[in-house]
Amino acid sequence: MAFLTDRKRAQGLGSAKTGTEHFWGMQVSSAALAVLIPIFVFTFGAILGAPHDEVVAYFARPFPAILTGLTLVVGMTHFKNGAQVMIEDYAHGAARKWLIIGVICLSYAVMATGLFALVKLAL
């Protein structure tokens, strides 16, 4: 049984202080992806299925390389934040923390791998 009043329990804690930047971050990355994704689908789709030398030459050009890099970085940032919200809805306690850490690691690993590949293809 709790003897503290609601006011006593809340006093001194202040407002939630954080939280809005996550929502804002999702809005920013979704607005960016709304532009990037349609261009990426057709830029990537145009080269998928081509022989190796053509693929290398394609990603040596600035537009496909920069667009793919941008889509990867913004897309994985959006995934990192979005998957975190899903985990927070379904997982609790230590599992929640480990899953969020895993998602963050995976997101940055995909970004780094993709950027390495693009740099190697472009140079």
């Binding site: 609601d6 349609p38 689908v41 145009a46 979005g82």
Partner: protein, 127 residues
């Protein structure tokens, strides 16, 4: 007043109680498509890494990506990305405080479903 029943309140009915509605289904699909797209992201990154690694490894990965199974995954990914794209636009519209009345929300839901199928067909025809 002190809350004497903290942590022991009756819970409101959840998903398994409510009849599925268009608004809830389209919302859940947004989450499923968004998170499932990690598979496409991993495949694309693997394919890029293979292209950067050399001709031999590229042939292997390219063969997997272009096999019937790879094509099936990419077809699913194309639909998922277009659905998530339209649902995301709907979210940005909702976030501006508009389109939240039931008739408009249902119309937007059907637009996401229909639009994603149309965009998938267009993509498959063009590519």
């Amino acid at each position: 007043m002190a809350d004497v029943n903290r942590g022991n309140r009756p819970l409101s009915p959840h998903l398994q109680i409510y009849r599925p509605q268009l608004t809830s289904i389209t919302s859940i699909l947004t989450r499923i498509t968004g998170n499932a797209l990690i598979v496409a992201a991993l495949l694309i990154t693997w394919w890029l890494l293979a292209a950067a690694s050399g001709e031999g490894y590229f042939a292997l990965v390219d063969g997997i990506v272009r096999s019937w199974f790879g094509k099936l995954v990419f077809l699913g990914a194309i639909w998922a990305v277009w659905y998530h794209f339209l649902a995301g636009l709907r979210h940005l519209y909702y976030d501006s405080g508009r389109g939240l009345d039931i008739p408009t929300a249902e119309k937007l839901g059907w637009a996401c479903i229909g639009g994603s199928v149309v965009l998938t067909l267009i993509t498959v025809i063009i590519l």
